[in-house]
């Protein structure tokens, strides 16, 4: 490779033993800057700008200059019952998705960790929801839930359990129906993480416990779980955050309907910002969401520090 020698010649440091250390430190900066600059300009900067916007009356397409209005957005937000209803739905959704997701993924990971036939197929299939665009997942489940042409109602009719119903438009069924989709879509990440954790549990300990006559549940509780705990905690915390902030799935499935029953906070803020143009107010909503998520994250970190120091 000619480029190797060229690059070498160009960057080779001066043969001064005292200057060497400083050169490598410059090298580190040189390596970090290409990523750091875009991060600062397009991620850290906008986030700070976003927090500032929440204290202004910024609106889209307005001619007057934006004004600093202090905590007015937050005071309005405090009395915005629609927002808090959306917030409540967001929490129900986040917990309602994360908990079954974890339990189902744990079951699947334990199965995949066994010496079963068809394991390869299950492993491949378990990844499929991960690879699919969220929009397609939403479209797919709309087809499943479709009141006439959907397979769910057809199965219900075949089993003689009635006529089925319009799952995504029913006031009582819409949220549970989208939660099922959330569970389905998020299972792969959780399963993969837990499977990775399981493969780190000491096999000898497991066998020793079995020889000592410990049953499956006992072995799981005393050998598997302690080793799995840090991974389980981490992935659950991440799932909570991701689910609380989720958007595309529900946007495609119900657009927040019927009657706002599935309007997650992200959908609410999106409409506020890009349908009604209330940038400042929507930014304030984002800030409130971050605050809640930070509390969740703090709880998670505290638990993690107590539990798994080896991670």
């Amino acid at each position: 490779m000619t480029s190797v020698t060229e690059a070498e010649r160009a960057v080779r440091p001066a043969p001064d033993p005292k200057g060497r250390r400083r050169v490598t430190d410059h090298g580190a900066w040189f390596l970090v800057l290409p990523a750091l600059i875009p991060i600062l300009i397009l991620s850290v900067g906008p986030l700070l700008y976003g927090i500032l916007l929440s204290f202004t009356d910024a609106q889209s397409g307005r001619t007057q200059p934006t004004q600093w209005i202090g905590g007015l957005n937050f005071r309005d937000l405090l009395h915005d019952t629609l927002f808090w209803e959306s917030f409540r739905i967001g929490l129900v959704w986040a917990v309602g998705v994360t908990v079954p997701q974890f339990l189902l993924a744990l079951g699947l990971a334990l199965l995949l960790n066994q010496d079963l036939r068809l394991r390869w197929l299950a492993r491949a299939l378990a990844i499929v929801p991960w690879a699919m665009p969220e929009v397609v997942v939403g479209v797919m489940w709309r087809l499943v839930y479709n009141p006439d042409a959907g397979i769910l109602n057809e199965t219900i009719r075949d089993l003689g359990l009635g006529d089925g119903r319009d799952w995504l438009s029913g006031l009582g069924t819409a949220l549970p129906a989208v939660i099922v989709v959330g569970v389905w879509a998020g299972m792969p990440t959780t399963t993969v993480a837990l499977l990775a954790g399981l493969q780190n549990t000491p096999r000898e300990l497991h066998e020793a416990a079995a020889v000592d006559g410990a049953g499956a549940w006992r072995r799981f509780r005393t050998v598997t779980w302690p080793a799995l705990r840090p991974v389980a905690l981490a992935i659950t915390a991440l799932n909570l955050i991701w689910n609380f902030n989720s958007f595309a799935l529900v946007y495609v499935l119900t657009s927040g309907g019927p009657g706002g029953r599935t309007r997650l906070p992200m959908l609410f803020a999106y409409e506020e910002a890009f349908r009604y143009g209330q940038f400042g107010y929507a930014a304030a909503m984002g800030c409130v969401m971050v605050a809640v998520i930070s509390i969740l994250l703090a709880v998670f970190l505290a638990g993690r520090l107590k539990g798994g120091d080896e991670a």
Partner: protein, 277 residues
């Protein structure tokens, strides 16, 4: 470890239930994609189309600019993946090899960035990109995707760099290779599969992305596949099921193929990233 016969049977039963839960919705999508309108309207849909047809695919291409959207998606995803990996690899190397405050801050940012709701990021980005006249443009979207892909690209790459033993680099240094020479001829080849996996993962994530594309791309000729897909669903939530299913199926294929290729590496990368951080 021995498991009783009934225990085994129970395990297979559970595995079967998982397989059905995971596979059936996708099979239903494929089934719907190949059904003629008459069957889609019938009250007793079947798993296997009685009269399979490609008409839905033709209609899907007629109704929406799918090819153009796919091209936009491809440009956005390729651009984002290549630039993200190009920027992230050197930084990941520093984060993995050195315990500088900067590396620690970067790791912290990777975690914190996950917690911010995208709406708080998109409003300022929208305003900034508007000033730069990069709204409704694929390059603008690429810029956003790059920054959005950087956290997990860094996360995965740090894991892969850690998997390269530093002793190898030290050995090369002892043999008289300079820093750059060591990086290029010792570290890079060992890192290459990880870099490719990260790039492909970033590609799929960008290909699948919806929220930023929805906000930033306004006109149909600029929009990416996921956004165009939602146009099949009418304002009242009424959708033309056949073409919708056909288009959704096609939009998924690239992601599935790429994921099948990198499946093992991804799980491996997540593992090292998760365990060693």
């Amino acid at each position: 470890m021995r498991t009783s016969r009934t225990g085994r049977a129970g395990q297979y039963l559970a595995l079967l239930a998982y397989l059905l839960f995971l596979a059936l919705p996708f099979l239903w999508l494929i089934s719907t994609a190949f059904k003629p309108p008459r069957e889609l309207g019938s009250l007793h849909p079947t798993w296997i189309p009685k009269d399979p047809t490609l008409a839905n695919f033709r209609q899907a291409f007629d109704e929406q600019p799918l090819l153009h959207a796919a091209l936009n998606s491809l440009i956005a995803a390729l651009g984002a993946a290549l630039i993200a990996v190009l920027l992230a690899t050197p930084m990941a190397y520093v984060m993995a090899r050195r315990r500088t405050p900067l590396a620690r801050a970067a790791t912290g940012w990777v975690v914190v960035s996950q917690a911010f709701p995208l709406v708080l990021l998109i409003i300022p980005l929208f305003l900034v990109l508007k000033n730069l006249r990069l709204i409704n443009s694929v390059p603008g979207l690429i810029m956003v995707y790059v920054v959005w892909a950087l956290p997990f690209a860094l996360w995965m790459l740090v894991g892969y760099v850690r998997a390269v033993p530093p002793e190898l680099e030290e050995a090369a240094a002892v043999d008289g290779a300079g820093r750059v020479r060591t990086l290029v001829s010792v570290t890079a080849p060992l890192l290459a599969p990880g870099i490719v996996a990260t790039a492909l993962f970033a590609f799929v994530t960008a290909w699948n992305e919806f929220f930023f594309a929805l906000v930033l791309l306004k006109t149909p000729e600029k929009q990416t596949l996921p956004v165009v897909l939602t146009h099949f669903i009418g304002a009242e939530g009424v959708a033309d099921l056949g073409p919708l299913a056909a288009a959704a199926f096609l939009a998924t294929l690239p992601s599935l193929v790429v994921f099948a290729v990198i499946q093992r590496r991804i799980t491996g990368g997540m593992l090292t990233g998760a365990v060693k951080s």
